[in-house]
Each structure stands twice: as C-alpha cells, then as structure tokens.
Amino acid sequence: MNLQLKPFEIFSGTGGVGKTTLAASRAVFLAEQGHTVLLITIDPAKRLKEVLNIKDEDAGKIVRVSDPLQDQSSLKLDVELMNPEETIKRVALQNNSDEIVNNRILKVLSRPYGGLNEILSIIELQLNMAKNKYDVNVLDTPPGSHFLDFLESVEKIRAFFDQTFVDIFNYLGKKVESTDAGRGRRFMTKIVSSGVKKLLDYLSKVTGAKFVDEFLEAIYVLYRSKSVFIDALNLQKELQDSKKSNWFLVTSVEQNKIKEAMELSEGAKALLNEETFVILNKCLQDQIKNWNPAPEQTLEMAVKKSYIEREEKHQQILGEKFGNILKFSEVLKMEPLEHVKELKDQWRQYHLEIT
C-alpha cells in the first residue's frame, strides 16, 4: 500500500485508541519528508499539548514547534490546539466587528467547555484552509460519537443559518421603525408563520423580557457573521473528495470496540469519502510470536491466548469490512514523545517511494 499526499488527513476513531499520538507522529513524519504541515487537534481533551509540550495559554494560536522530537533536529512543525474563544475572535476579525466577541451570551457559550467546540472547529478549519498555507493539514478529532457531532456540525450550521431565520432575526434585531409599513407587515407574517414569534413569547414567560432582548441580540450578531459560517460549508466538499483528503479510522487491539468503530464508519459514511484507511494500532503480534511458555504454565498460556485472540479477532473483522489495514505495533515506552518517535518511523512502511 502506498499513501498519497493530500492536503487533508483526518484521524478519527473511538476513544483511547491512540488517535492523537498517531496524528502527531504522522505530522512529524510528513514534516521530515520536507512538507509544510499544520497539525490541529479539535479534541477538547487536547492531549497534543502533552505530547508536544505546548502551553495552555497558547491554545487557539498556531504555534511553531521547533525540534518537536527534542533531538536537536532542524525540524519544524506548526501546531494548533483548537480554542473556541480564539475562533470567535477570528470570526470577528473576518467581519470587521467586535460585536460577536462582546456579546454576553456568546461569551459564555464560547468558553472551552461551553459546548460550541465542534461547531466552531469547522469554522476554524475553514479559516485555515482559506489561507492555503500548508501542504498538509493533519486533524486529530474528538473521540467516538463526538466525531460524528463534529461532522454533523455542517448540517447544524446549515439549519441554523437558514435564510428565513436570518431574515427574521435581522428584522427583530434591528428593531426596524415601522416607517416601511408594507415591509414590516410582510415580515410580521413571516415571523408568525415560522413560529418564532410564539417561541419568543414562550421564552419570555420563563426567562423574562430582558433575556429575550439579549437573546435576540445574540442571534442577530451571530447572523451578521453568517458568511463566515456558510463559507465553512465548503469544507465538507473538500473532506469528501478522495483526491483532497485521507481519512484514517483508528482502532486498537487493546479494546473490544470493533462494533463501535464500525458504527462510527457507518454513521460517518455519508460525510466521508469512500477511500477510508483503517489503522489497527497497538499490535503485539511480533512480540507474542516469540513468546513460548511451556504448556504447564497455565496462566502464561492464558495470557498469551488472550492477546493472540484479541489481535486475530480485530484483523479478521476489520479485514472483511475494509481492504486496507495499516498496522502499527504497540510502543512500550513510558513517555508520550517516545511513542511519537517510534510511530513516526512506522509510517515509512506505507510510503513505498521512501527508502
């Protein structure tokens, strides 16, 4: 198997399979081959910072990591830990207006754990893509179903920025004077028929009128940045194009999670491109092969059997479903950086042109 170089490489999978470390090793590998690489993590757990020694306060910025492997090489890698607050600032910059940053409600929601992570990730990726600065953008995604949330963000954005809603909230937000009575009436009809008017009345009952005003303001401000959000929908096309992106579905021998991985690939089918690579991580086959306990060592035999069975089961089931399995051996080292180093070298086997 020979992997082609593409502008996007996306690592997805259930939790704990080694996505982050593999993505980091991949980015380092590509950088070593002389490509300009941006490594982004949109996983709120942000394990990358530990692996590459990035400070918390640098979250949301593109950080140039010199000598990522700490071996005095001249290697350089750009890394970004996604931070929703910083993305909102970037949206404001695009729009030449601070209102989105200063809105009280949006401020709370764009906290690191405010919940807007997945949706704003799409925006962040799009803004990076538009700059077209890197040969390869390597993405580390949140685990399991949150990865689907991330992919579904595109649909969520599309639904939320529906033109009808935008028109309504533009109208309500501007609090248009009723000088243009005809236009006002047309809009009132639209507002009533969309149900928004009634919804706002109900909302006012449980939150008070003051909050409804603030809420209107927040939505209005968000809709004024509509173009930035809608642009992000283009990203989906890029990611679906197998000429532009490599998808890696990461699984691990260590876990009995084949079913979940399959579900994930099923769930993401409509959004991914057809050429997904499956990674089977933490393989121990080579080590196990060379271990031959005597038959009377029953516990040893049980341990060996357990490991062999686990690995064979994964290979068999994944092999039936996906043609291409990339195997990576388990790294038996303590430090995360050591893992990146060893896995980086393991990528070589999938690049035939490199000797």
């Binding site: 259930t14 939790g15 704990g16 399979v17 996983d43 709120p44 757990a45 942000k46 394990r47 530990e50 692996v51 009280r104 409600i105 709370v108 929601l109 906290r111 754990y113 405010g114 919940g115 807007l116 997945e118 949706i119 685990p143 399991g144 949330d149 579904e152 969520k156 639904a159 939320f160 529906d162 809603f165 969309s194 149900g195 928004v196 919804l199 109900y202 449980v206 939150t207 008070g208 003051k210 909050f211 260590e254 009995n256 579900e263 080590q287 271990w291 306990p293 060592q297 516990l299 040893e300 049980a302 341990v303 357990s306 686990r310 089961k313 388990e330 038996l332 303590m334 430090e335 995360p336």
Partner: protein, 274 residues
C-alpha cells in the same frame, strides 16, 4: 461499605472502560439489594431517530436494570412543565427554529438531560443512577452547563431551575464522580487534569481509578513474562510510584475478550467505586 450516593458519574478518557465499569457497578449495587439503574443519554440530537444505543441493548441482554433517556422526550417534558401544557411543548420541540437552536447548544442538551435525571432521583428516594458519562471534555461541558446557563439566564424560571440543580447535585452524599483511567502516563495525566477541572466547577467527591491493571492480576508476580509484558508491568509500577497517592484503586485487567465476561470479571471489585 457506607451507604451509597444517589448519583454516580463514570467518566474519563475514551476507551478506559466507562461503559463496562458503569454496568458492573450497577450490577454490583443491585446484587446488594439497592435500586441502582444504569443510565445513558442516548442521543445528542432532537431530530435523531436513532433507536437504543449499543450500550442499552447490551444492558438489556445482560439483564442489568437500566434507563435510557432520549433528548426529544426530555425536552418536551421539560417545556411542557414550564408551559404547563404538553400540547404547547409538543409544538415547541417540533418548530424548526427550536430544533436548529438546540442542535447548536450541546451544553443546553446536557442541562435538559441532567434536569430529567435529578427529577427522577427526587421522585424516588430509593433510586440510584450510574451514569455512563461522555468522555472527559464533554463531561465538563455537561457539568459546566448548570453554571453557564445560570449565568446566561440570570433570572426567571429557567435560572431558578439551574440553581436548584446545582443545589441538589452538590448536596451532601448525593454525587460521586468516578474518573477511570489506564496505566499509561498520558491517561493518568488526563485523569488528574480532569479532576482539577471538575473541582473548579464545584467541589464534589471525585476519585480516580486505574482500570486494566496488569499488576493486580492474581499470580502475576510468579509469571514468567516475555519482555513486552514485563515492560507493561514496569510502566505500571512507575505510575503507581509517581501517582499512587492520587489513584484510589487499581482495577485488575480481564483476560477475556467477551464483553459480558469482562463485566462479570469487573463486578466483584466494584465496591471500590461506590
């Protein structure tokens, strides 16, 4: 064992065995005559027609008492209560704008789920929930939601509800958060960081447990192990040396590759988690 809490949140990094531990703990508490229920928030979307998740189907298969909450039903129930009309609620949750807004607010979805959970716990004083929670970062989104939306609403009925939730959640002997981790440096660091972030939201009883512990297997000291397993064991010992004080207990590794057997293997050691 002291009398159990009312609400256990099982969280931690992805792949640490949250589901298995939550199911095993539920099983254990039930075997001790408690009315414990495995809990899973099934969908993260109002329009999702997804049926029961794998985990719930599995709980059914294993005959472990469980409750599956669904976002659409919970939202409709909540709106209905606030509006004092189920008809209005039915209409509200179906409007495109409400749906679009909800899908943009995962934090609010969690708030609805938590609200329903607490309501059920209040209704039945015997009931104990074991929540198979989303992984680390998303567990923070869930628990921060009570605070964040309290701040957003500032006053009114919804604000009062967030305050009631906070009061109950953090009342004495009510909540225990169990963070599961694995015997690797990265996983343990993430668990410790999560514990710190949880403490910043509100003081709660939070413990870290290290799952998949190879060294806790019976007879492991007498085993003649190949180098790769010796190095696994060595890493684990280093972790215990360095972080032992912060890990409440090690849960032994199961040699089985069958989910049901893994849960049965885990069940006896679950008293640690309650």
């Amino acid at each position: 064992m002291s009398s159990p809490k009312r609400f256990y949140i099982i969280t931690g990094k992805g792949g640490v065995g949250k589901t298995a531990a939550a199911l095993a703990l539920t099983k254990r508490l039930n075997s001790q005559g408690k009315k414990a229920r495995y809990l899973n928030y099934t969908t993260s979307s109002l329009s999702s027609s997804k049926s029961d998740r794998q985990e719930i189907l599995f709980a059914k298969k294993m005959d472990i008492p469980h409750v599956a909450l669904n976002l659409l039903e919970c939202s409709q129930g909540y709106v209905g209560k606030k509006m004092k009309s189920q008809m209005i609620a039915k209409w509200v949750v179906k409007t495109p704008f409400f749906k679009a807004l909800m899908s943009m607010l995962p934090g609010f979805n969690y708030l609805i789920y938590l609200g329903k959970t607490l309501e059920l716990l209040k209704e039945d004083p015997e009931l104990i929930f074991i929540l198979d929670s989303p992984s680390s970062g998303h567990a923070l989104t869930m628990l921060e939601a009570t605070k964040n939306f309290g701040e957003i609403f500032q006053s009114g009925l919804l604000f009062e509800d967030t305050q009631k939730m906070i009061k109950l959640l953090y009342s004495e002997n009510f909540l225990q958060i169990n963070i599961l981790t694995l015997p690797t440096l990265m996983a343990v660091n993430e668990a410790i960081e999560l514990k710190k972030s949880l403490a910043e939201i509100a003081p709660s009883e939070t413990h870290i447990f290290c799952n998949n512990s190879f060294k806790s297997m019976e007879g492991v000291d007498k085993l003649e192990l190949p180098p790769f397993l010796r190095s696994k064991l060595e890493t684990e010992r280093l972790i215990e040396e360095q972080f032992g004080g912060q890990i409440k207990a090690f849960i032994k590794h199961s040699l089985s590759n069958q989910d049901a057997q893994i849960i049965n293997d885990l069940t006896p050691s679950m008293d640690n988690l309650a």
